[in-house]
């Protein structure tokens, strides 16, 4: 039995009065392979798409508005919900932007832990990408395999911060916790197995005829198009631009670790797939080095986890409990919030999806005056307008898959 309501049936996908063969196909907003809430209006000429019109905003939750009404520390958990596949990278982007605004230097141990979290998140995100894209194209086994590995990483993160998905694991000025005792050992054990696992996926996919036919020469993004649409991350690198913010404008300790940036000049789905696979290997390579760095910090007895800046950052818990002044500071910082200097910053970081930027305009108050989230997926969705025409309907799914869009980030 239907509830009474005012919704009229949708006939927008059928144009009765047209006598040409154009059909309008409505894809989404709730489509299993739309990776969230993407709605596409596709004009079709037989099976060929002539015009694509992505419609977003189905997950617009008003984060920028929330930021204007929240003190800086309060906003941290909200950033988790942007790119929820790799939460810590958003935490980090925001923390870094505020630190740059204040002019804060983070202790080395905290930096090392942040690096670990960032790269683990990159692995998680790429594994998830592989899983869902493979599922969309029909390779269910890869989905199950990749999720298995992802669960190990989830366990690692859970050991660290207690949450699986929404980590909030980074604070402005450092990290809240040290790594648990067996974290490094567990991680090494996982990393030792990872190359085998990646090889498993590749064995399943690389020689698979269906996979190759649906990936190769489909969804070719030219270099000009990628630049003009503001593509970043794997999307840009697959189109032949060697640009990785970790390499070019190093932040954190990326200048100290050694890694390669995979680039391809083909620009098609398959190139993107290869880049994701290669980046996973590179992330594992970075993680080994960072694990060594962590052990070094133990050896050198660098135990600080939070920067020392009483005006902006609360003192360590032990000081708060024992020293009157620290307690007062803490109280003011929690109830009123920190007041960064007047000014503005735009800080880009390389999140797993691309350039994640935080633009903060501070007017000296405890609330940001304007906070703009520059999320890579927003433009990777936009490019579908120009990318889809000329392709066939089945290609839509594989193209959406390889652009790796996450709607928490697109709509914010």
């Amino acid at each position: 039995m239907q509830h009474q309501n005012r919704l009229r049936p949708f006939f927008e996908n059928i144009t009765f009065d047209r006598d040409d063969n154009e059909m309008i196909l409505n894809f989404g907003p709730q489509h299993p392979s739309a990776h969230g809430q993407l709605r596409l209006m596709l004009h079709l000429q037989q099976e060929m798409i002539t015009k694509a019109h992505p419609d977003i905003g189905y997950l617009h939750r008003g984060m920028e508005k929330m930021a204007e009404n929240m003190i800086y520390n309060e906003f941290m958990p909200t950033t988790d919900r942007m790119d929820y596949i790799a939460s810590s990278s958003n935490n980090y982007g925001f923390a870094l932007a505020v630190e740059k605004l204040i002019g804060l230097e983070v202790p080395r141990r905290a930096k090392v832990i942040r690096m670990l979290l960032l790269e683990i998140n990159r692995l998680m995100s790429h594994l998830f990408w592989l899983a869902t894209t493979a599922l969309d194209i029909g390779a269910m086994t890869v989905f199950l395999f990749a999720f298995r590995e992802r669960e190990y990483l989830m366990d690692l993160i859970e050991d660290y911060c207690g949450a699986r998905l929404t980590h909030a694991a980074i604070r402005i000025g450092g990290v809240p916790l040290d790594l648990p005792d067996n974290f490094i050992a567990d991680m090494r054990r996982f990393l030792d197995k990872l190359p085998e696992n990646i090889k498993d996926y590749e064995d399943l996919l690389d020689t698979n005829r269906i996979w190759r036919m649906r990936m190769e020469d489909v969804g070719v993004v030219s270099k000009e198009m990628a630049l003009s649409w503001g593509c970043t991350g794997p999307m840009l690198r697959a189109s032949g631009v060697a640009w990785d913010i970790r390499k070019e404008e190093p932040y954190e300790l990326y200048s100290e670790v050694e890694f390669k940036v995979p680039v391809s000049d083909k620009g098609d789905n398959f190139a993107r797939y290869r880049i994701y696979m290669e980046e996973m290997r590179q992330s594992a390579h970075i993680l080994y080095q960072v694990a060594d760095m962590y052990e070094e910090t133990i050896k050198n007895n660098q135990t600080d986890l939070m920067a020392h800046a009483p005006k902006y950052i609360s003192a360590p818990k032990i000081d708060i409990m024992t020293q009157n002044y620290s307690l007062m500071q803490h109280f003011v910082l929690v109830t009123q919030g920190m007041r960064p200097p007047v000014g503005e910053v735009y800080i880009p970081t390389e999140s797993p999806k691309g350039e994640l930027g935080f633009y903060i305009n501070s007017q000296g108050g405890p609330y940001p005056y304007r906070l703009k989230l520059r999320a890579p997926s927003f433009w990777h969705t936009g490019i579908l307008t120009d990318l889809l025409p000329g392709h066939y309907i089945p290609d839509v799914v594989s193209i959406i898959g390889t652009t790796n869009i996450v709607f928490g980030e697109v709509d914010r």
Partner: protein, 268 residues
């Protein structure tokens, strides 16, 4: 007497600010301190009026006149090698000066430099679209229009992008409250069930701290379950937490904790 709240800015405000508090500034360097930026600025200055320019947090900020925006960005793109428009949006300064500030965040991959080009427009003025230069501006400008109501000239498809087409109000204006206005509060109810359903469905509950333990309409209480809508007295008998009914389930063996093995070693 009720405390005065300004009508032109309804965002959260600090409840206490020290009278003598002077906020520090993020340091601004002179453009001449960086060769690349200095050369870029010279090139822009040669053709257009630059109102102000400085370097802040390693990025150059250039203020120009709003009417020059397309030409300046064209110059910067074609001659100065700033190949990407990373971001653009607006800031609402209406309460202060009746203006919007529009910024274009540009990136040069060759020089590894970022600049921010800014301009001011009045409240009811429109800005020219840079969509012909950077396709990414297509969506950014739509978003700006959606969030601030700033009209963009020469835009191919200036419609709302994040909010529904029939939405009223521009959410990121400082006059727009976080929780939305009357229209926003009833948007989905009006659209789906019609205005007459407002009374039945009731207003949104937005008090985050609200806990009503006698509420059996909205939440079942685990362990003390009652049918929906009954009055709760507080003396409900405890219902044991179990996956299965006491008598067991047809065709399915009852789970017995005694007889099962609990794995504690996760590495097993």
């Amino acid at each position: 007497m009720r405390a005065y709240t300004p009508k032109d800015d309804v965002q959260a405000k600090s409840y206490y600010t020290d009278r003598f508090y002077v906020s520090p500034q993020v340091a601004k360097q002179d453009v001449s301190s960086d060769e690349v930026f200095a050369a870029d600025l010279e090139a822009i200055k040669a053709k257009f009026e630059v109102l102000e320019a400085y370097i802040q947090v390693e990025q150059m900020v250039v203020y120009i006149n709003a009417k020059d925006n397309v030409d300046v960005i064209k110059l910067v793109k074609e001659e100065l090698d700033y190949t990407q428009l990373s971001e653009m949006s607006a800031i609402d300064w209406i309460a202060k000066s009746g203006q919007f500030e529009i910024f274009y965040q540009m990136l040069s991959m060759g020089k590894r430099k970022r600049i921010r080009i800014k301009c001011f427009i009045g409240k009811d003025e429109a800005i020219n679209s840079v969509e012909k230069l950077f396709r990414s501006a297509d969506w950014s400008e739509r978003e700006m229009y959606d969030m601030f109501g700033i009209e963009v000239n020469n835009h191919p498809f200036l419609k709302r992008i994040l909010m529904p087409y029939d939405w009223e109000g521009y959410p990121l204006l400082k006059t727009y409250p976080l929780e939305g206005d009357e229209f926003a509060a009833w948007y989905e109810v009006d659209k789906i069930y019609g205005k007459e359903a407002r009374d039945i469905i009731g207003p949104e509950i937005r008090d985050t701290a609200r806990v009503d333990r006698y509420d059996s309409e909205r939440f079942g209480r685990l362990g003390h379950e009652v049918p929906k809508g009954t009055k709760i007295t507080g003396n409900e008998p405890k219902t044991p937490l179990a996956y299965q009914e006491e008598g067991g389930v047809f065709m399915i063996d009852r789970f017995d904790e005694e007889k099962s093995v609990i794995i504690t070693d996760r590495n097993r």
